[in-house]
Symmetry: C2
Subunit: 196 residues, 2 copies
């Protein structure tokens, strides 16, 4: 007869989730660091976004809860452990289905109540319909062009992106969630493409 | 006569701080990733700690504000941009002075009110005297041994560390700020050193 084995405790499940999450440090993005030395990974990108949220809180529209935005940004890319990063100027045909399957698997590592709570935050971010999610999405679109401007082109150069594509893919989302940030960034992008 | 130049706006200063912070991605730590593939950097470590705080919130002692803990953890290593990472088992003789000088320089990039607010959070974390800071510090000590256990020794092996040193340097701080986490981890560490 096999020895009786106690089921995993809540803490065992929380730790299984946290150790699985470590793999996000090995998911690379299309964006390079500000100094151009290497590609950014999704874990350090997520940290940078939480710092953007904390620092740019005074730029958030009224009614935004920065603490909820930060919680969303901590979790927003965790599905990339399974699904990989989808470069914004690349092919994303299966990305939505891949990310939903990843969310099902990864959040299920947690105790049930927490799994539902984290999944709800991730779903809210993805839907980008609430003020918190709209601001969080705007920050996710605002950080990479700042790295590109710092390192001399980055993913724009790698993907042969035009100024119109930048305005359509990211400008509209930044302007919607964080108008003062787009007012600041738009002219810098225009200058880069006019006079690189 | 020189052209008049307008002083940097609050947003200009916030962005200067955020782009300087990008350098934290290039500060490597003594700890390796869970899969042992490379050293961890301080930016992705900071993200991992915010996820620890969010996930282990049910393990926090009563009265701890997880949102304040997360804010501290986002900021806690930013001084390493100038001061580097101080391995917990290495030589740390000038580390305190180096980190204070770094805090003076880096937070001063921000608008004044925000500089004071971020510095106060960082000072609170360093002093480890409030419930929020004590829990944040406990998480900062709790994450690396979990990586070491996952990758087969990591910084313990590299620094020839004994079980007593682990208990003295990290065990006491984890037990103080997060007793249930130390109750979970302590036996795993004992087993590693007894039967690696
Ligand atoms: Ca992403």
């Amino acid at each position: 007869m096999a020895d009786p084995v106690s089921p995993p405790s809540d803490l065992d499940r929380q730790m299984a989730f946290l150790m699985e999450a470590d793999r996000l440090k090995s998911i690379t993005r299309a964006t390079q660091l500000a100094d151009g030395s290497r590609d950014e990974n999704s874990a350090e990108h997520s940290w940078h976004l939480t710092l953007f949220a904390l620092t740019l809180a005074p730029q958030a529209p009224p009614g935004v809860s920065i603490d909820r935005v930060i919680r969303m940004l901590i979790l927003h890319d965790i599905v990339e452990i399974d699904a990989g990063d989808a470069p914004i100027y690349g092919d994303t045909s299966t990305q939505v289905a891949d990310e939903l399957a990843a969310a099902d698997r990864i959040f299920a590592l947690l105790p049930d109540t927490q799994a539902r709570e984290f999944r709800a935050l991730w779903d809210e971010f993805e839907a980008a319909a609430t003020p918190d999610a709209t601001f969080a999405k705007a920050l996710d679109r605002f950080q990479p062009p700042n790295l590109n401007l710092a390192n001399g082109g980055g993913s724009w150069t790698a993907y042969n992106v035009t100024e119109d594509q930048v305005r359509n893919r990211i400008g509209s989302k930044i302007e919607r969630g964080a108008p003062t940030l787009w007012a600041w960034l738009g002219p810098k992008i225009a200058k880069f493409f006019t006079d690189p």
